[in-house]
C-alpha cells in the first residue's frame, strides 16, 4: 500500500521536474541558433507562422480550420478526460466496493458520437471543401492581371522562371540545358526566351496575384511557402499550377517539404515580397540578363 503511494508521488515528482524544469532550461539554450544571410520578416514561434495572405483568401480558411479543430479537439479531450479520471477514481478497487456488471445505458455517448459526426461534416463541407476548391479551381482570371511564373525544382535548388517583359516564356528543353549558364534549358533560338528571367530567389510584387506552375527536373520535391500556406508537390512529368497572393512586403522562406535526397533539409529559397515599383525595377534589370547569359550568347 505504502510503496504504491511512494511510486505515485515519485512519478509525479519526476514529471514535474522533467516537464517543468528541464525543458524550459533546454528551451533557453539556443547555442545552436543559426546565423542567416537575411533577416526574416514577422514573428515565428510555437504557433502558426505569420500569414501574409489577404483576408478572405484560402490561407485564412486553412488557419481558421486549424484553430477550430484544435478547440474542438481540446473540448472533446477534456470532457472525455474528466469522465475518464472520474471513473478511475470513483471505481478504483477498494474494500466494500464491487463491480456492477449490468450494462449501463450510455445515451450520452451516442449523442456525443452524433455530435462529433455532425461537426466533422460541417468542417468538411463548410470549410475544407470550399478552401480546397479555391486552391484548385479559383485561379485568378487574366483581368486580375496575375503574375505568371514557372517553378522548376531540382536537387537541391528552386529555380524560378519569369517570362520577362514580353510576357511569353521561351521554349525549354533538356537538350539546351547547361548547369552553369542555362539551368532551365531555354532554347537560345527562341526569341521569346531572350528576355526570360531565371532566378533562384522568388521576387513577387505585393498585393498582386501570382500563378506559378510547379514542375521538377528530377525527383519529387514539394514547393512550400509557410507564410502563404502554399504546399504543392513538384512532380517530374507533371506541371501543376498554384496561385497565391501576399499583402505584406518582406523576406520569407520557401522550403522543400518532400524528401528529395541528402540535401533535402537545406533546399530552401528566399521569397522577397516587394512593392510593385521595386519589383518592376528588379524585373527590368533581371530581364537584361546576368553576365553569364551574355557570355552564353557570345559563345553561340
Amino acid at each position: 500500500m505504502n510503496s504504491r503511494r511512494y511510486t505515485a508521488i515519485a512519478s509525479v515528482l519526476v514529471a514535474v521536474l522533467w516537464l517543468g524544469f528541464a525543458t524550459p532550461l533546454l528551451a533557453q539554450d539556443t547555442a545552436a541558433a543559426p546565423s542567416f544571410d537575411v533577416e526574416l520578416t514577422g514573428d515565428y514561434g510555437y504557433h502558426l507562422p505569420p500569414n501574409i495572405a489577404p483576408e478572405g483568401t484560402y490561407p485564412h480558411t486553412v488557419d481558421s480550420l486549424i484553430d477550430i479543430l484544435h478547440y474542438f479537439m481540446v473540448v472533446l479531450f477534456v470532457g472525455w478526460g474528466i469522465f475518464f479520471v472520474y471513473c478511475l477514481w470513483k471505481f478504483r478497487q477498494r474494500e466494500g466496493h464491487k463491480a456492477d456488471a449490468k450494462p449501463i445505458k450510455a445515451k450520452a455517448s451516442k449523442y456525443a458520437e452524433i455530435v462529433v459526426a455532425i461537426f466533422e461534416a460541417f468542417l468538411l463541407i463548410g470549410l475544407s471543401i470550399p478552401a480546397w476548391a479555391s486552391v484548385r479551381n479559383e485561379f485568378p482570371t487574366e483581368e486580375e492581371n496575375p503574375l505568371h511564373l514557372r517553378v522548376v525544382a531540382e536537387q537541391f535548388q528552386w529555380n524560378f522562371h519569369y517570362p520577362g517583359p514580353d510576357g511569353v516564356f521561351g521554349k525549354t528543353s533538356p537538350a539546351f540545358l547547361d548547369l552553369a549558364t542555362n539551368i532551365l534549358g531555354i532554347d537560345p533560338a527562341d526569341p521569346n526566351g531572350k528576355d526570360d528571367i531565371t532566378a533562384t530567389e522568388l521576387h513577387i510584387p505585393v498585393n498582386r496575384k501570382v500563378i506559378a506552375d510547379i514542375s521538377s527536373k528530377d525527383v519529387i520535391h514539394s514547393f512550400a511557402i509557410g507564410v502563404l500556406r502554399v504546399k504543392q508537390d513538384a512532380i517530374p512529368g507533371m506541371r501543376i499550377p498554384v496561385w497565391f497572393e501576399a499583402n505584406r512586403t518582406g523576406n520569407y522562406e520557401i522550403s522543400c517539404a518532400q524528401l528529395c535526397g541528402n540535401n533535402h533539409y537545406s533546399m530552401r529559397a528566399l521569397m522577397i515580397v516587394e512593392d510593385q515599383g521595386v519589383f518592376d525595377a528588379w524585373y527590368a534589370k533581371a530581364a537584361e540578363g546576368p553576365e553569364e547569359f551574355d557570355e552564353d550568347e557570345l559563345d553561340d
Binding site: 479551381n137 479559383e138 485561379f139 485568378p140 482570371t141 487574366e142 496575375p146 505568371h148 514557372r150 522548376v152 517570362p163 510576357g167 511569353v168 516564356f169 521561351g170 521554349k171 525549354t172 528543353s173 533538356p174 521569346n192 500563378i211 506552375d213 514542375s215 521538377s216 527536373k217 517530374p236 512529368g237 507533371m238 506541371r239 501543376i240 499550377p241 496561385w243
Partner: protein
C-alpha cells in the same frame, strides 16, 4: 457437393464440355481481334470473352458452382470489391496527370486550358 461415382462421371462430361467451350472461345477471341471494331470495341470484346472464359473456369473447374460455404464466398466478394477499387487506380492517377509533359522534355507544354486559368503563358509553347 455430392461424391458418388455416378455424379463424378457426370462431372467429367461437364469438364470436357467446358474445355470445348474454352478452346472455342480462344479461337473466337483471336478471330475477333482481326475484325476492325471502331473505338474501344476491341477491348470490350476481348475482355468480355476473357471474362466468360474465366467464369467458366472458376465456376466449373474450381467448383464454385457447387460451393456453399459462406466462408469462401464472403472473402471472395470482399476481394472482388477491392479488386474493383484497384482497377479504378488508373482513372485516379489519370485525373491527376492531365498536365503530363510530352516526351523528351520536362516542361515545354502549354498550360492546359484550365477553367479560369489560361492566357499569359498559354501561347508560350511555340
Amino acid at each position: 457437393m455430392a461424391d458418388s461415382h455416378a455424379d463424378i462421371s457426370k462431372h467429367v462430361k461437364l469438364y470436357i464440355g467446358v474445355f470445348a467451350a474454352l478452346a472455342g472461345l480462344t479461337i473466337v477471341t483471336v478471330l475477333a481481334s482481326q475484325v476492325d471494331f471502331s473505338g474501344p470495341g476491341h477491348v470490350v470484346v476481348a475482355l468480355l470473352i476473357a471474362g466468360i472464359k474465366a467464369t467458366l473456369v472458376a465456376a466449373v473447374f474450381m467448383h464454385l458452382k457447387w460451393e456453399r460455404s459462406g466462408w469462401i464466398w464472403w472473402p471472395l466478394v470482399l476481394c472482388a470489391f477491392f479488386f474493383v477499387v484497384l482497377m479504378t487506380l488508373p482513372t485516379l492517377v489519370a485525373t491527376e496527370s492531365r498536365d503530363r509533359a510530352p516526351a523528351g522534355t520536362w516542361d515545354t507544354i502549354p498550360v492546359r486550358e484550365a477553367p479560369a486559368h489560361s492566357g499569359g503563358n498559354a501561347e508560350s509553347g511555340h
